[in-house]
């Protein structure tokens, strides 16, 4: 079962790379028409460029070469034919990881706490406040909440810098305190999703037979909550956390644009606008692999942590 899950993940990554490669192949224009711009009408130049960049070979060959390179960490050259993609992407990936890590460090503990509290005190004041805030956090577009936060915290109150001016290659420590506002927005949004999930599973578990049994046996309330209810209630949260991590590493384009943060998302959008397709391919592959790996890890973790699933799969 474990092996099957890992294999399926591998298959998914293969299909993703195929989709990415085929998608880019099917788009009109290639690296050469983009590189030459208005000179592309010159047949000779175009042919020469295609020859230089190896675009004349059949797509299958280039796909094989590209995947081979990607496995060994060599992502090839950007559309200008000189810059190595791994250096461009490397810095941005580091910055995205930094942002994601800070957001997780704030968001996940907060989400678990709020979820448990509002689940235990269902329909009471703390739950109503937290749940209402969560709806706002989930529904209002990120660029709206980010813009409002910049307006209030940075323009009106002047507490935090509203925009990131540090260059992409700077070491992590230089991003403070500029990184704080994006971290606040991200953790606010991710907190809402996790919190709602935790809340509903706490409510489910608290209504279950074994919790009632423990209560009837006279187990003290808090001991019952911590020892019997929470371990089971927090299990389903693993999957949501995985989804949010994947989202943090791939989907925060809008936030990065709003705060001018030099992460993977902004590189992605810039590369798409510039038609720098080799870079787009690489980012897509990285993000998709992260998504698959994180989800796989979450599934395995749930399997290991949940005694019911564990024994079920062992027997199989």
């Amino acid at each position: 079962m474990l092996i099957r899950r890992v294999l399926l993940g591998g298959v998914t990554v293969c299909i993703v790379s195929l989709i990415i490669f085929a998608g880019v192949e099917m788009l009109p224009g290639d690296a050469c028409t983009q590189f030459l711009g208005e000179y592309q009408a010159d047949e000779e130049l175009l042919a020469q460029c295609r020859k230089d960049l190896d675009l004349n070979r059949p797509a299958i060959d280039r796909f094989a070469e590209w995947t081979q390179g990607a496995i060994t960490g060599d992502l090839g050259l950007a559309a200008d034919g000189t810059t190595k993609i791994s250096t461009i992407v490397g810095d941005r990936l580091k910055n995205s990881l930094l942002l994601a890590f800070c957001a997780m460090a704030v968001g996940i503990p907060l989400a678990l706490l709020l979820g448990v509290v509002s689940g235990l005190w269902r329909d009471r004041l703390p739950d109503i406040i937290a749940s209402t805030l969560a709806i706002f956090a989930m529904t209002i577009p990120e660029f709206v909440s980010a813009t409002l936060l910049i307006l209030v915290l940075s323009v009106w109150l002047g507490w935090l810098p509203g925009i990131v001016l540090t260059s992409a290659a700077a070491p992590a420590s230089e991003f403070f305190p500029e990184i704080l506002l994006p971290v606040i927005v991200l953790s606010f949004v991710m907190c809402a999703h996790i919190m709602r999930m935790v809340r509903s599973s706490v409510i489910d578990v608290m209504a279950s037979d074994y919790v009632q049994m423990a209560t009837l046996k006279g187990v003290p309330y808090w001991q019952m909550v911590f020892r019997h209810a929470l371990p089971n209630a927090l299990l389903p949260a693993i999957n949501v956390v995985a989804l949010t991590i994947a989202w943090l590493l791939g989907g925060v384009v809008v936030i990065e644009v709003v705060f001018n943060y030099p992460g993977l998302g902004r590189l992605m959008i810039d590369s798409i606008s510039d038609r720098n397709l080799p870079v787009v391919q690489s980012i897509a592959l990285i993000v998709a692999s992260v998504y698959v790996c994180v989800n796989l890890a979450a599934d395995l973790l749930t399997m290991i942590a949940n005694p019911k699933l564990r024994t079920m799969y062992m027997r199989k």
Partner: protein, 294 residues
Amino acid sequence: MTVSSTSHQQEHGRFMTVMKDILARPSGLIGLTLVLFHILLALLSPSIAPYDFKLQNSSLMLSPPSSEHWLGADHLGRDILSRTLMGGREALLVTGIATPLAVIWGGFIGILFGLVGGRVDEVLMRIVDAFLSLPWILKMLVLIVTFGTGIGVLIPTLTFFYGIPVIRVARAATHDIIARDFVWAAKARGHSRISIIWRELLPNVLDTLMVEGAMRWSWMLLAFSSLSFLGFGVSPPIPDWGLMISDARGFMSFAPWGVIAPVIGLSSLIIGINLSADALAKALGIDRAQKAPM
């Protein structure tokens, strides 16, 4: 849960019960009111907007709210009130067409493959997984940058990509139902696949699909306004909240009204849709908290 082969009258009666249930909840009442308000506004705003949305007046640039221009003017001297009133039209039009289409094609494929099962189903699910693992904005931007912006590109793009997660949901719901006796009975009676889908599966999966559709609608609206914000959605001078926020952001320190008006417009619509979706899910007995956007 509906039972197959319900008559029209029962179907109608059930619709009324669900509506009553939605309206009995504060979230449903507020949500539906907001949504209806926005739909009416989108239909009527061209006739009630006080000024022409594209009329530029350089003497009014970034002017604060006044008795003539209640919400002030933007960086090109255009009336913000008129633009805010009309700012949801494009978004509602695009998502209003793309959402049902996405649910229909995703739902149909999901039910069909859930029913067929086997190898084909296995392969399809891997492709679906592969698509889901790519960030939505990347998938869409590549198409938009290639084929250009505008409704003609946005509607098919949104329909295609937002239908893919629906396949998964519809397939899972189908798997829940397919083992029931009435599906076996229909198979034993020798009904064709199409007839089983139409008469046995669809009525039972419909609840899930409706909730899914309501949630997809709000996510699609989020995606649409984010695209506009990034400059890949509607093209100026058509008023759109996302684009207005993006334009006014630079002048936020001395002209905050330009940001606040479209923020209220957009937020109230999205919150309205979400509250309605929540109430609908509760009325139909489907747990919405278990779902995260993809």
